[in-house]
Structures are given as structure tokens and as C-alpha cells.
Symmetry: none
Subunit: 209 residues, 4 copies
Amino acid sequence: MGKMTGYEKEHELPQKVRQLYAAVLELVAEGVDVNAIKVSDITQKAGIGKGTAYDYFDTKEDIIICALIYAVSGMINRIKVEISQYESFKMQVEQLFTAVEKELVERECFMRFVHMMTDSSFYATTLQQRAALDVHKECDAMVLLRQMVEEAQRRGEVTTSLPLDYIVFSLMSKLLLYLAVCNERQEREDKAHQLKPYILKGLFAEFCR
Amino acid sequence: MGKMTGYEKEHELPQKVRQLYAAVLELVAEGVDVNAIKVSDITQKAGIGKGTAYDYFDTKEDIIICALIYAVSGMINRIKVEISQYESFKMQVEQLFTAVEKELVERECFMRFVHMMTDSSFYATTLQQRAALDVHKECDAMVLLRQMVEEAQRRGEVTTSLPLDYIVFSLMSKLLLYLAVCNERQEREDKAHQLKPYILKGLFAEFCR
Amino acid sequence: MGKMTGYEKEHELPQKVRQLYAAVLELVAEGVDVNAIKVSDITQKAGIGKGTAYDYFDTKEDIIICALIYAVSGMINRIKVEISQYESFKMQVEQLFTAVEKELVERECFMRFVHMMTDSSFYATTLQQRAALDVHKECDAMVLLRQMVEEAQRRGEVTTSLPLDYIVFSLMSKLLLYLAVCNERQEREDKAHQLKPYILKGLFAEFCR
Amino acid sequence: MGKMTGYEKEHELPQKVRQLYAAVLELVAEGVDVNAIKVSDITQKAGIGKGTAYDYFDTKEDIIICALIYAVSGMINRIKVEISQYESFKMQVEQLFTAVEKELVERECFMRFVHMMTDSSFYATTLQQRAALDVHKECDAMVLLRQMVEEAQRRGEVTTSLPLDYIVFSLMSKLLLYLAVCNERQEREDKAHQLKPYILKGLFAEFCR
DNA sequence: GATGAATGAGGGTTCATTCAT
DNA sequence: AATGAATGAACCCTCATTCAT
């Protein structure tokens, strides 16, 4: 049987695969170390037999990687849709910050994913290779941000006197910064919300006309 | 025997421990997945027997964590010294960027360490707990940055109209962003150097009077 | 439902069972290790569902054993018929050698079967037990040879001054020797044909008047 | 560490390897199906830890194959020595038959080994490949027999009017036949001894002047 | 009846840790 | 003190067998 790749459309996903993905993402959201996840953890949480997982995936690593790709590409696509409802760059950026902080599971997965994109763990390396091959670039948040900025530049909302790369990277770094703060334990949850307006203000002051 | 903690002074380190740390850091610098490092990899590279490692550490994880703490606290202390030679905030920040990009091994370890501070892997969790207990805060780059900014504010070089947290986080995020770009494969190495002046200019424009 | 035993008459065999047997024997003829044959290999080659195989057999081992019994008893019966067309012992023996070398699949299965009769693998042990119970002795090539020799002795063609057992065993050993040589890779295929006249001559010289 | 090959000299064998070999051979002698032997069976019988086996061998199959090569090459070498004490071909052949029937364990291993040389099981295939590469031909009983016959021909004891191959194969087939009969359950043990003189007489009548 | 998706017991292999030398 | 051979718990993966459809 053809094994999963992580890029299947939502409706193409067999039920069992959906359960496997959900199990992995729950574990990740619970803060379990990805490297410590056991196949039996996943299948038990998914409520299916261990062997079944291997009908859809070749290795444990595949299960986890596909679950992460699934989560992040889904998240990015959802953010794309949400952002497209706004016309101004500023509103889009605000929406972006709101979107990523929204749900714990997604936030955790996104963080994990971003880490992996700049990490040298096994999962990181594999994901980077996958991303490089990924024609749809569905998983690349950078691509999303780049498009957003380019269009805003075309509309004249964002300065063109700074390199596109710099603007995109700045946006990304502030976004991650925000996520990192959000993710810290409770006490700082407030701090995150206090910082948000400053982060946005800083961004707009630097890049918007 | 008392086991190592990672906070020993340089001169307190037994020779064997030094060799163990060096081995771990070399492996990390080579891009080996921390989770994939085996005790035999470490001791072989260190040129000592496996049993000896257990005279100084209780578990494999301890060896790795202490090596990382050692590397990062050393790095931060060295940066402290380097920075203290400059009097202006701008020069200090420039020096900071130069320092972290300087050496591959350090950069890699620093990245790994930072990842771990915002990660939920086993090593991450342990390091975070250790950092929370760490009275000297020797390992906390944030503390260093905070001190730097506070003093600059006292000297009137940095604005006090923005929250200290925000300034520190911004500085940190730009620094990490820069490191991440530096760490990408060859092609981008140039991109990193092209971005640097913009990053610094952006920082100074936002925070310096 | 009553499960198969391997001794069903050709016309009693359900179509699916025929397909299963054919699949097993093809695999064996392809040189696949009997111990490595998977149920899915068999049913896939047979073009039927896995569950169906278990309607006719209790275990995987049963499928394989019955297929082998089927192949060998069929082969022996066919050889019996072919031999009965000849009246002289010498002609019968020549026919015997021709018959066993005839078809690759049969030769392979026969070899496998003979191995199993003098082996201690699981299949061997089971087959030996079965053969001991086999009232018809349909599977026992030795019985065929014994009858052949006994009748030839009665007709005065074969010496009675040597023990029957010895003559039968000698015949068997030469036959197997010949098969073994036939089965070696290509180069020796010729060698087999060169040896054949010597093998027969030796046999006849020793046992025929 | 360098792994075992099965061709180590007796005195080169680490103690643990010796124990592993002994365990495998005991199991084989007990009539356990080679394909059913578990690593834990071997190490338990050997009285060592499971992991230790993997210090000396890469896979379970390696352990078993090396044990068989060890047993057979040892046996053949011992037979070589025993045979070399006799000067006449007839005495040598008699000694050969005595030697192979001598010890249960050896007989069983030799049978297993011979099976494997004309079989298509995994072990068989691997052993055949090894034997083809084996420069010493230490494991090849055929080589031993061939030398024996050639020398006897040179001494004028064995006819040169028959092809060498035929003589060697005949000798081999009678030898194996004899072993097979010896190996059958109790009742036939006697039969074997009754057959022996006829087998030898037949051989000598056919090949000796 | 026929199927093949699902199961989970079982076994090969790895590697952190120990301890006799 | 230092070693590394030995251990065995742990875990991934396979595949015979079942059973709902």
C-alpha cells in the first residue's frame, strides 16, 4: 500500500491516520519530548493497534514527521485564509499574531516545527530535507510572510527602501519572539499580552509608511 | 564521589571531565543530533574509558547537559568580558553580534542551548529547571542582555519609554535570528552579512536616542 | 469446516486450494526459503484473500505442508503410472531418472521434500510424522522404489543375493545424487547429463544379472 | 571490534564465542529447527547475556552460520587427520564411515550442513556463498573426498576408467545415505550397521581394482 | 462465501550502565 | 584510579491470525 507523506489533503486521510496524527500532536502539546515518544505511546493514545500504524507509515519517525507536517501545513493554510480576509498589512500582521497564539496545540506544534527548521536533530534534518523538496512550500511559514510583505509593498503599505529579506526575517523573529514568550509558563502569559502592542508598534514604525 | 554540575570553575575541572566536555561539544558542532549521541561516542572521542565517565557523572544526560552548561556559561562570560571593554551601547551590541558569530563550535552550541531553553525536549526541560535554580544566572543570556540594556538606559543611551522586557526580547530575537541565518548553509552565509547592518540599524533606530 | 489434509483426490480439491498449492509450489520452485514464505506471499500469488486461506487450513504451516504432500504424492503417482508402462527393470530405472529431472518445479519440490524427510526443521518433523501415519504411503518414494525392486527380483531381473534394503537405499542415493547435481547452477547442467550413463551403468552392474 | 567469521583458529576463539558455538550446536544436536532458534535460546544455553552475542556477531544468522562452519570445518579437519593415518584407500573409506557416525552432535551438524549445501533456505544460500568464497575450502567435504580419490588413483588403487566426478559423487552419496539411515530413529540404528558392510563392498567392487 | 484491515504477541537488536580486573 | 567486556531492559517492527463487512 502507498504510505503517507504528510501532504495528503484533509479528506484523503484514512481515519486511522487521522487518529495517529491526533495522538502525536496531543503528545507534543502535552510537552512530551519528541525523541522520547514511543510507537506504543502513539498507537495507544490513538486507540489502534501497533501494527496498524505500520500499514500507513514505514517507521516511527515517519509517523511523527508526517504528523508535524500535517499540523503545520494545516495551520499555515488556515492562517492564509484568515489573513486573506483583511486588506491592510497592519491588520494582516495583527491577525497573524492572534492566529498563532490562538490554540495551545497549534502553538506548541508550530514552535516545535520552527525549532526543527533551525535545528540539527534527526527530525530537524529530515524536515529540512522534506521542506527543500516540497514544491507546494506549504509548510514554509517564511514563504507565507514573504508573499504578505511583497503584496503590501505593491500596495505601497510597506517600505521598499529596505531589503525584502530583512523585512521578512524581522517579521519572523518578532513572531517567534512572541510565541516564545507566550509559551513560557503561566506567570508570563500576561507579560506576552503586555508586550504584544509594543512588538506590533515596533514593526509598523520600522516598515510601514 | 561528588559528581560534576557544570558550574565548576575552569580550574576545578578534572582533566577527564575537560576531555568529556570537549568531546560532547565537538559532536554537537559536527551537527550530530544531541539525542543520537551515545556514551561510547563521547568517551571514544574523549579518549577515555566508559566507566570513567560514570565516575564524574551519573547519567549520559548529565554529561551532555553539563557540557552544554559549561560551553554556554563560558561563552557568556567571555562575551561579558569582551563587551565590558566598550563603553557605548552601540559598540557593545556590535561586539555582541561579532562575538556570537565568531566561532562555529560556539555558535552551534549556543544555538543548541537557546533552542533548548525554548524547547520541550528532555534536555530542554532539564536545562530550564537548572537555569531556574542557577543562582549565578551564569547561563542566562537574557540576564546579560538585560544588564547591558539597563546600564545603557542609566547612561541615557537607550530609551526608557519602552518596557525593558520588550527591548531585551527584541535584542534577543534579532540576535537569534541572525545566528539562525548564519547557521544556514553556505549560500546564505553572505546573506547574513548583508543583513547585519540592517539589523543593527533597525535596533538602534528603535531603541537609541 | 473440515480442513484440508493434503491427501485429497485431485478432483476433490476446491479451486481456491488448488490456487494456494500452486502458489506455494511456485514460490518453492523460485528458490524461496520455505521458512521465509509469508501467508501474504502465498495468498497474493494465489490471487485470493488471506482469510480464505484460513477457511481451508488452520495454520500457515499446514498450507505449506499440504502443498508439498500434494506435489510429491502427485509426482510419485505420475511416476508410478509412467513406470508401469515399462516391463524391464532397466527401462523403469531409466524412466525414473528421466521423470524426476523433467520439470523444474517438480524437481525443486521433490528435493525440498526429500530434504525434509531427513531433516529436523519444523516442516521436516511434521512431514515425517505425517508420513508415518500415511496409510497409503503415497508420499514415500522409498515405498515406490521398494515395490519396483521387489517385482524386478520376482521377475529375476535383480539379484536376491543382496539385502532388499541395501538395493533400495542404493537406488535412492543415486537418484538423489543425480537430482542434486541437476539442481546445481547452469555450468553443471551438462555435468549431470555426462554423469547419468555412469550412474545407471553402476547401478545395473551391481544389481542386475 | 572485528566480528567472527567462523574460520578462526581454535585458539583464537574468545571464550564467549566458544560458549555461543557450543550452545548452537547443542540445540542443533537436540533436533531443534535451525529456523526456530531464538537469540535468547542461544545466549541462555551459552550462559551469557544477549548483548554479548552482538559483540562478536552482527546478526543471529551470523551466530548460527559461524557455529555450523566451525563445527563442520573442525570435523573435516579431524577426519583429514584420522584418514591420513591410513595408507590404503579401502581403509581410508572405512575410517571415513566410522568417523562420521562417531558422535551424535557431529553427525547431526554434518547432516545439517550437507542439507544446507544443497538446499535453498536462507542459511543454505548464505553457506553456499561463503563456501564459494572460502579459499581454504576447509568446509567442503567434496574437496576432501576428491583429494582422497585422486591420491588413490595415483597409487593405482582406484580405477581411472571412470570419471573422477562420478566416483566422488558416488562416494558422497553413499556416505550421506549412510548418515541419513544412522540418523533415523532407534529401530533403524541396527539397520544402518547391517547395511554398512554392503555399502563398502559395493563401493570397493565398483571403484577399486 | 470472500475479503483484507486490524491486531498484538513475539523476537531481534541497541545501548546505558555496571563491576571485575 | 581506569577500563571496557558484559549485561539485560527496552523498544521497534513483523506477520500469523481474526473478524466485521
